[in-house]
Amino acid sequence: MADKIDRILADQISRRDLLKRAGIAGGLLAVPGVLAACGSSTTTTTGGSATTAGGTATTAGSAPAGETIKIGFVSPRTGPASGFGEPDPYVIDLAKKALANGLDIGGKKYNVEIIDKDGQSNPAMGAQVAQELINSDKVDLILTTSTPETINPVSDAAEAAGVPHICTVCPWEAWYFGRGAKPDQPSPFKFGFIFAFGVEQFHQTYVSSWPQIPTNKKIGVMWPNDADGNAIRAALGPLLAKDGYTIVDPGAYENGTNDYSAQISKFKSENCEMFNTFPIPPDFTTFWRQAAQQGFKPKIVQLAKTGLFPSQIEALGDLGNNLAGAAYWAPIFPYKSTLTGVTSKELGDGYEKASGKQWNQQLGPSLSLFDVGIEALKASGNPKDKAAVAAAMAKMKVETPLGILEWGKFPVSPNVVPTTLVNGQWVKGTGKWPFDWVCVDNVEDPNIPTSAKLQPYA
């Protein structure tokens, strides 16, 4: 009987017809960027009028060319990585307020204009908005954050055009080596600078905090087949093995996989008491529910790349309790922003008040970008001289919410400042939020207070 209905529906549509349409569909799916490219950017000029410039009374509208410093800001606001860009409007507002009266550099007063662009989580769009900033807006400085997919194409375009640019929130190896620098050769980059954690920071805080819970030192790992996953497999795996951990690696999987029973049964049969993963957030939720259903309960669950934001933990419900995740910034960091004077605590509280949402790690590095960028412009003596700005960057020392950042000290590359990671754990919230993040390790920066010991997941 069912066949009959099938046929009635099926008879109408020849397979060839379907495939013809499917072909068109496939073609369309491949070009989302074309339509999405109409996305807009917002431009705001802040800053005092040009009345003080040159001592003559002029209005802002008639300020001579070259009186405004333009800063481009690129972060992912839409697309899969849009969670990273979510607090950026708040941070940009803070920076605008601090820059409302313009900047005094070398005895001259400048207006500051911040041009905010969306990289759409997509390398092609990242490159495109960077080109717009460079060629149409003629920016003097580019700040960019969050994932190699956004910052690498922006950096490539800016480096080629000789525009100073500062990056963060991406393992620095992916930015530095990932764009063609070689370990034993001088840095090929003159205009690009980064402050970010690297593999060594993961390694240090992991091996410092994990012994707080006795285990059999067998780590089941889920490292996907993408830039991050493969870099971690190549770099972090051997470091952990050297420290006596056994890595149980079922192999790289594709992002977007919907079933993980093969990996789960392998972890169970190998009796892994620890688990580490660098997945995109939706994949982890799928995996973790299936792991719960199939009875895989390790003692330590160490997340990276996912579990950065409270919403990702809340999505797990009770399964989110006691997951460990390292942080590159938290309100407990005892540092303040040079540009705005805002402390880490004030930054977290201010965001919670303004947005009604819990603080997240992105606030710190985004505000730090402005601290570093504005200091470099000031130190250059002439913010319109791109070579002078880049030269000033190379010997910059500035306090930011992430800590005191100083370029020129890191032996591997003059472009890079590795920043601190502190391991922490998501526990049932005691205040207004469902989960609180507590710091359990501070091996990389003893000034950051720990408030708890690592608790076993199960």
């Binding site: 009987m1 069912a2 066949d3 209905i5 099938d6 009635i8 529906l9 099926a10 008879d11 109408q12 549509i13 020849s14 397979r15 017809d17 379907l18 495939l19 499917a22 068109i24 569909a25 369309l28 799916l29 989302p32 339509l35 839409t78 899969p80 849009s82 979510e86 087949n225 192999g251 790289a252 594709e254 977007g256 996989t257 919907n258 079933d259 993980y260 029973s261 093969a262 049964s265 169970k268 049969s269 957030p281 939706p282 939720t285 799928t286 529910r289 299936q290 719960a292 259903q293 199939q294 009875g295 934001f309 919403s311 990702q312 809340e314 999505a315 797990l316 419900g317 009770d318 399964l319």
Partner: protein, 292 residues
């Protein structure tokens, strides 16, 4: 036992794919539109359900009732307001329309709900973590069984509906020849709108189960669309039972692929999909084409 487990988990996964593909199959069967917004509509349904659950703290399974009614209305309005007009302009326009619609839905969701991931897993209660352990390497999850059962019920129910009810017969008649159907007194516009409503409601049902078994975020739609699409093609276009079979084949292919190497999970599914297309001139599918 590992492979037994892999096949079983694949069947469970296939149930989800079939549920997701059901509305795509129906809308193609009746209106011959490839609905590229299907994945985004599923995610929209999940967000509406999440929003109600968040406001009322009711069980997602209870909230399904109002949100499916809302989504039926969305589908109905979509057909009347958008697809009906675009259908008059040839085969390419509806495709472009649904593609544009997907972008609009994704961005509206992003604007309204922010990029945060949302899940209904916690609120769904014990069913998401309950399982029966058959052996060390083989456990049966309650949620998987539930999704599979819902998929079979929805696809079977729709089949019965098409076969036994007046509206179902009207739909089949309209699918076959809408002009002739009108001659015998069928309101083909109304039939199309109701078919679209049902299709969008089943998409929302699948979206809610996606949010229960994993998470949804505003850009999750297109990722899931590809699997739904493959399930429809593997199973045979416009055939509801075929969609169920297609979903199961895709699911099992993925879990068996993962058993060999986790990297082969999605690849194995895509290869099966390509293999089915490649042999279309032979076997059952060719026989079907012959009768067309």
């Amino acid at each position: 036992m590992t492979y037994v487990n892999a096949v079983f988990q694949g069947i469970i996964l296939g149930g989800f794919y079939a549920l997701l593909a059901c509305g795509l199959s129906l809308i193609f069967g009746v209106m011959r539109i490839i609905n590229l917004a299907h994945g985004s509509l599923a995610v929209l349904g999940a967000f509406i359900t999440w929003w109600i659950v968040d406001k009322t703290s009711l069980s997602p399974f209870l909230v399904l009732i109002p949100s499916l009614i809302v989504m039926f209305g969305v589908g109905w309005a979509l057909q009347r307001g958008l697809l009906e007009r675009s259908l008059r302009a040839g085969i390419l326009i509806p495709l472009l329309t649904t593609f544009g619609l997907a972008i609009v839905i994704d961005n509206v969701l992003l604007g309204v709900f922010s990029p945060d991931v949302r899940s209904l897993g916690g609120q769904a209660g014990a069913v998401t973590t309950t399982s029966w352990k058959v052996s060390q390497q083989f456990s049966i999850s309650a949620l998987g069984i539930l999704i599979l059962a819902v998929a079979v019920a929805v696809l079977g129910g729709l089949s019965l509906f098409l076969r036994r009810t007046t509206l179902g017969r009207a739909m089949r008649a309209t699918a076959q020849d809408s002009d002739t159907a009108e001659l015998v007194g069928i309101d083909s516009r109304g039939v199309y709108a109701r078919a679209a409503g049902i299709a969008v409601a089943t998409a929302a049902l699948a979206g809610v189960f996606l949010a229960i078994r994993a998470v949804v975020e505003p850009s999750a739609g297109p990722t899931q669309l590809i699997f739904a699409f493959e399930a429809v093609v593997i199973g045979g276009f416009g055939s509801l039972w075929g969609t169920l079979v297609g979903g199961l084949i895709l699911g099992v292919a993925q879990t068996l692929g993962a058993q060999i190497n986790p990297q082969y999970a999605n690849l194995a599914g895509h290869l099966v999909f390509l293999a089915v297309i490649a042999v279309r001139s032979g076997g059952i599918l060719a026989a079907r084409e012959g009768t067309a």
